[in-house]
C-alpha cells in the first residue's frame, strides 16, 4: 500500500510538467492559475499564424523525416553485421557505433560546430542533417538488434536453399520478420530528431531554426502561453510516436526489459 502511494506520487511528478503545459495551452489567461480561467484556442491560433513557428515546424518535420529515413537504412544494415558477423574486434566496433548515444551531445555539438566552421559548411541544411543522422543511428541499431537476435537464421538459409539469392532471402524473409524493430527504430529516430535541442543549438543559425530552437529563443524573451501551445503540439506528436512504437514493436521489447 505504501509502495503504491509512493509510486503514484512519482508518476504524478513525472507527468506534472507536461500536464501543466497542456492545460496552460488551452487556458485563456496570460498566466496559468489554478483553477484555469477558461477554455481558449487563441494560443494555438497564434502558434499557427506566426510565420517563424510554422517555418520551424516544417523544417523540423522535414529534417526528422530525412534523418529517420537515412538512419534506418544505414542503422539496419549495420545491425545485421553486428549481430551476425563473427570477426575480430566486433565488441570494440559495437562500442564505437553506439558511442554517439552515450557521449553527451553538447560535446558532439561543439566538436561538429568547430569542424564545420573550419570546413566552411557551418549552418547548412546538410551539415545539420548529418549531425542528426550521427546521433539517431545508434538508436536504430539498438532496436533492430533487439529483434534480430530473436531471428532464426535457418529461415533465411531455407529460402536460399530453395533458390533465393542472399539479397532476396534477406529482403523477403529477414526484413519481414524484423520489420517491427526497423519501424520502431525509424519512429524513434524521427522523435529524437524532431525534439533534438542540444545538438541543433550548435549547428543552426538565424535562418535555420528547428522548432525546439525557435521555442527556446521565444522563451528567453517572452513567457506568454503561445509557447505552451507549441509545446502541447509537440507533446501530442510525441504521444502519437510512442503509440506507434507500442503498436509495431511492443514497449517491453523496445525498452529492453
Amino acid at each position: 500500500m505504501i509502495l503504491r502511494s509512493v509510486v503514484g506520487l512519482v508518476y504524478a511528478f513525472l507527468l506534472l510538467p507536461m500536464v501543466v503545459v497542456v492545460l496552460a495551452a488551452f487556458n485563456s489567461g496570460n498566466y496559468f492559475t489554478f483553477p484555469p480561467q477558461g477554455f481558449s484556442l487563441k494560443w494555438f491560433a497564434n502558434f499557427f499564424q506566426r510565420r517563424e513557428f510554422m517555418q520551424a515546424l516544417w523544417l523540423s518535420t522535414e529534417l526528422a523525416g530525412w534523418t529517420a529515413l537515412a538512419s534506418t537504412v544505414i542503422g539496419t544494415a549495420a545491425a545485421v553485421v553486428l549481430v551476425r558477423g563473427r570477426f575480430r574486434g566486433r565488441d570494440l566496433l559495437n562500442a564505437f557505433v553506439t558511442s554517439p548515444l552515450l557521449l553527451p551531445q553538447i560535446l558532439t555539438g561543439v566538436a561538429l560546430l568547430q569542424f564545420y566552421t573550419l570546413l566552411k559548411m557551418h549552418a547548412s541544411y546538410g551539415a545539420l542533417l548529418i549531425g542528426h543522422i550521427v546521433v539517431t543511428t545508434p538508436y536504430v541499431i539498438r532496436t533492430v538488434t533487439a529483434t534480430l537476435t530473436h531471428f532464426d537464421i535457418a529461415l533465411e538459409e531455407a529460402a536460399q536453399s530453395l533458390g533465393a539469392n542472399p539479397l532476396r532471402a534477406f529482403l523477403e524473409i529477414t526484413l519481414g520478420v524484423i520489420k517491427p524493430g526497423v519501424v520502431a527504430g525509424a519512429i524513434f529516430a524521427f522523435a529524437i530528431s524532431f525534439d533534438n535541442f542540444t545538438l541543433s543549438l550548435f549547428l543552426t543559425s538565424a535562418k535555420l531554426t528547428p522548432l525546439p530552437i525557435e521555442l527556446f529563443a521565444y522563451l528567453k524573451y517572452s513567457f506568454d502561453p503561445t509557447a505552451a501551445a507549441v509545446s502541447a503540439f509537440a507533446i501530442g506528436v510525441a504521444l502519437v510516436l510512442v503509440l506507434g512504437i507500442a503498436r509495431f514493436m511492443g514497449l517491453e521489447e523496445f525498452t529492453g526489459f
Partner: protein
Amino acid sequence: MTRGARLLLLGPYVLLLMVFFAAPLALMFAISLSRQSFGQLEWAFTAHHYVRFFTDAYYLSVLADTLWLGALTTAASLLLGYPLAYHLALTRSRWKPLLIVFILSPLLVGIVIRCYGWMILLADRGLINATLVQHGWITQPLPLMYNKFGVTLALVHVFLPFMVLSLTGVLKRIEPQLIEASQTLGASPRRAFFEVTLPLSLPGILAGSLLVFSLAISSFVVPILIGGFKVHVLPMVVYEQVLSVFDWPFGAANAFVLLVISVALIAVYIKVTERALRGIV
C-alpha cells in the same frame, strides 16, 4: 557473411562516424591545445588552457558545483526511481503498457518543453507561488527557481526515466523463487528485500547511477532555463565560451575536461552492463 558484404553494410555508418564524429572530436582536442589571438586560431601545442582551468578558483568551483549537482540528481533519481522500477518489474496490472508510456513519454518530449513546464510551476509568479499568495499563506514568493533547488528538481525529472529503465531491466531478471525461498526459510518480506532483492539489483543501481550522473553533469538546458544563468555548471561554461565569448581553445579545453569525465563513466558503465547493444538505455 563474407568480408565484402560486411564492408558494404557496415562501411557507410563507420565511415560517417569516422568523418563526422571521431574526426571532429580529435579536432576539438587539437583546438584545445592551440592559441587564439584577435579571434584568429593559431595551431600550437600548449597546455595553457588546461592550466588556466585547473588553477582558476572560479572554474574549479564550477567543476565542483557540476559534480555536486550530478551527485544530488543521481541520489534523488535512485530514491524516486527504485520504487517505480520495483513496481513496474513485478506488476501484472493490465495498465502496465500505460505505465511504460508514462515513463517513456518524458523521454520523447523535448527538454525545452519539460523545462518550460517547470517554469510555469516554479516561477515567482508561477502556479505554485501564485496559489500560495492567493490563499494568503505566504506574502513573498518562495525561491523555487533560479537556484540549485529548482535546477536539481528539473534535472531529476529529466533523467529519472533513464534510472527507472536501467533498474527495471535488472529487477525483472531476478528469479522470484529466490525471494520465495528466503521467505520460506523465515525471512520477513522486509528482510528478503534487503538481503536478496537489493543486493541482486546492485548492477542496475550502478548502471543507472552512472548513466544519470553522466547525463546530469553534461546538461546545460536545465541550468540555463531553470537556473537563469545563476547556477553555473561546466557545460554552460562550454556553451558560453564557444557561442558567446568565441574563445574556442578555452571552450574546447573545457569540453575536453567534460569529455574525459564522461568517457571514464561510460567505460565503467559498459563494463558493468555488458549490454552495449541491448535496449534503448
